[in-house]
Amino acid sequence: MSLAVTGFGIICAIGNDAQSVLRSLQEGRTGIGAMRYLQSSHKELPVGEVKLSNDEMKRMLGQDEKSIISRTVLMGAIAIRQALEHANLDLKGKRIALINGTTVGGMDITEHYFMQMKEDDALLPVLEKHDCGSSTREMADLAGLKDAEVCTISTACSSAVNAIILGSEMLKNNEADIIIAGGTEALSLFHLNGFNSLMILDKEQCRPFDKNRAGLNLGEGAAFVVLQKPENLTNEQNPLAYIRGYGNRCDAFHQTASSEDGEGAFLAMSEALKMSGLEPQDIQYINAHGTGTPNNDASESAAIRRVFGEKIPPVSSTKGFTGHTTSASGSIEAVICILSLLKDFVPANLGWKEQDEACIKPTTDNRQQTTENILCNSFGFGGNDSAVVISKNASPSNSSQKEQNLEVCTLGEAIVEDVEQLQELREFISPGEARRMGKLMKAATITSLKALQAAGIETPDAIITATAFGMLETSEKFMVDMLENGEETLSPTLFMQSTHNTLSSAIAIRTKCHGYNMTYSQGSDSLEWALRDARRLIETGKAKTVLVGFHDEATPTFQEFFRRMEKPIPSMLYSRSIVLGRRPAE
């Protein structure tokens, strides 16, 4: 079954709405340039900023300029409002869900107020806007979706495509009538400095797939699509495009690098094509992830060659226009693909000059060309690789019915609630392997491996993680070092362990699991979303065994903040892993 896209909204470096984004793409105008809004000392780094101040965005949303709202939320709410208006929806009596992909969440306001929060009680509520889940809730409220179900996906740079994938699955399984799915991510000092510590930021305009490419430029923005079952459209609504296939797979190779043969990307693209019922030659354009780092572009090229052989359709990375908008990149590029379908053009790969043997040759001019089916790639840290096929026409119906009489049961389980228990890690891995791990990573590794052991399984078919706050310990260390000692000499080890999907992907690497890999971060609802996903995977026959982990931690500072707010104090460490599977036949 294909899902109809009935509306979309977008805000990024090349425009504050779809019309202006389209114009920039067709005129070959980049949005990357000198830093204007982000208050960083790294002025040498070009960025793809949204050309609006926070105050301007607050005014657009009718909010008081004095109110503290993260830039992530502001951009997200603007894009959602555009999408809702575009879709011409009748929301009455409908089950609506907002699925948002983000990793930064409220980090921009947290890093701005953190030092003051240590002294000033009045600023403590900023903390309640820090986590990804609360960002999504606030966006729903600002966009007039107070009654909608909300969910946040956090798989680093593939978050927004995974949000579209989850939304599509929910529609197919009749869990919602209307899905608004996409992602949003504002630039923050935190991740600008994190990427900088990994030495993968180009000081010049990025050059995806070029022989002399030297890294990525960070960007920011938000984009959302409205998805509905084709049969549920009203007479006033038009299908603009269809989500025809998708794949979510894991490279299971390295925390920050992609494998040489692009295994995860290859599997994700193959799965997306298979679901769409299309052959590689049916694809007229590939919107590549193409970040501009030496590693990503070579690995992605290898994967594209494996899928398409000698006959590679036009490929471009549009990150030379927008910058790498990280968690939002998947939906920003999905909307660019929809514009490409609607206007029959292929956007250029800006910045490319010289052929690299290790890379595909991208299309460098903006060309008018009929497009029927487009493949859009989106990859993240830890090898969270996803791809989606977007088409002018729906596929012939092949609805994924749930299998009947199938019972899901627990095959194994393990819990760690105490720092003392972390000594058990030695039973599973050497101190050398554990040397970079923070306490939550250690706990998650122990419970995952113990639960799998109890279930008698080495490699699960899928791994799903639920975490409300993610990697607090390493994130706080990195942020405090940055705030106290400035934006130089920061630790890459701390940053690479700061994204929420670190846990899921590290466990995938350890268990060699290339299957479905997902991370939910929706406050106290995270576990329920993860379990719901696991049951859906098993009931639709997509997985026989799923490792579900629920992992959260606190730090002394974090606990102190909650104590001062007179709120329940989060525990220092909690990790619970469950292996779910089909109940064996009697």
């Binding site: 510590s197 990994l198 030495m199 925390q255 920050t256 690098a257 050497s430 101190p431 050398g432 040397r435 970079r436 130089e488 000499t489 920061l490 630790s491 890459p492 080890t493 690479m496």
Partner: protein, 86 residues
């Protein structure tokens, strides 16, 4: 030079959290990367680059430049000796 080598060993051990590696076993001529040596990887190179900037004021803009420098603690020490700003 010997003092610098010992300082570097200590700083590397601490920055990379190499708990199980005793300073006596930390041979300054042993290759830092690859299976036969200490077994460090690309993230460790980045941490060592941070360490050199923090402690010796040496800035390396590109990890690839460092390939010759990061062969062993000895080669790092020689580079630091010649290029240190503090």
């Amino acid at each position: 030079m010997e003092q610098l080598i010992n300082d570097l060993k200590l700083q590397i051990k601490e920055a990379l959290n190499l708990e199980e590696l005793s300073l006596e076993d930390f041979d300054e001529n042993a290759p830092l990367f690859g299976e036969e040596g200490i077994g460090l990887d690309s993230i460790d190179i980045l941490e060592i680059i941070v360490l050199l900037e923090k402690n010796y004021g040496i800035r390396l803009a590109n990890p690839k430049e460092g390939k010759a420098i990061f062969q062993s603690v000895k080669t790092i020490a020689e580079y630091v000796q010649a290029n240190r700003k503090k």
